[in-house]
Symmetry: C2
Subunit: 203 residues, 2 copies
Amino acid sequence: MKLFYSPASPFARKVLVVAHELGLSERITVVPAAANPMEKEKAIAQLNPAGKIPTLQLDNGEALFDSRVICEYLDALAGGDRMFPAGEARWKALVLQSLADEALDSCILARYEQLYRPESMRIPDWVDAQMHKVFTTLDVLERDWIHYLAAHVNIGPIAVGALLGYLDFRFAHVGWRNGRPRLAAWADGFAGRPSMSTTAPTT
Amino acid sequence: MKLFYSPASPFARKVLVVAHELGLSERITVVPAAANPMEKEKAIAQLNPAGKIPTLQLDNGEALFDSRVICEYLDALAGGDRMFPAGEARWKALVLQSLADEALDSCILARYEQLYRPESMRIPDWVDAQMHKVFTTLDVLERDWIHYLAAHVNIGPIAVGALLGYLDFRFAHVGWRNGRPRLAAWADGFAGRPSMSTTAPTT
């Protein structure tokens, strides 16, 4: 399998972390790719018209996307019910993934404002609204999810790990650890897992 | 169950279409809600820090989001393996949902550019890049997915139905049917399903 990948993409990181946790990473060939929202890379666009990474190409040529679908596929390939729990446990894991993915989407919109607009065309209220969603998500994680995070390794905590790693990588200046000591401690511990340390974001 | 809903939201529509197809719509109380990205509605924000619709509140008080998670939950409630196929058939349905959801995300970003920025602060290249993703997705649907669409009613075609309905609703001026006769014919037929006609978007 070929994974179109960027070491700066938190969504691509989710896929590699899942692959590592499932013992599947040696079956995946990582293909470095750009994820510029203004200009699609041809090799990806032929498989996925949104041109986004991660995109996974199977050995039969078919393409899978987005990160949620790829992660669930890898879980099924490893027998299932590991990173995506079956039964009633499934919904908590998936809601936690949604929480983290939504916050990541907000981070990325805030970042695009800076990357793709000259300063005079940026709208601070828009960036603030995005970051407000991120901060309230972090507060909810600190208040309601800390025991779940400590007790599980599945797609939920992995998505949260990708979110917090991305904040450290691109938004270090916001100081997300302030006032969230339990989440910060969990993040530091989780970052030590081999699946996480070998996929730490780089430019 | 309570569904925070707006009749203009294509993602909320997916949920109601799935509920109708599964015969579950009478178990869902629809709560009209606003989905303004700049200002979160309190009732939703308490359940979902991203403040987005659709958000589903279960009878035990717990919240489910986003649309993908809610749709899959409803499918499980109805016995499973109907809107979300099991086994190998699952991946095609999920990839098709991703295709449609990604194009919807692009539509919404293009629309926000107009809604939330004064004209002098809009970047036409940004809007064009978003709409280009939408158009290439439509081309892929016309070329590669038409037989699948005609043969299946599951979360994939439902997401495509929500996408095409949203284009008619908010982007009628782009003339998406031009050059895509098979997709247009499928859309017109699919729109006649009771699940679709009772959920047609309104402001």
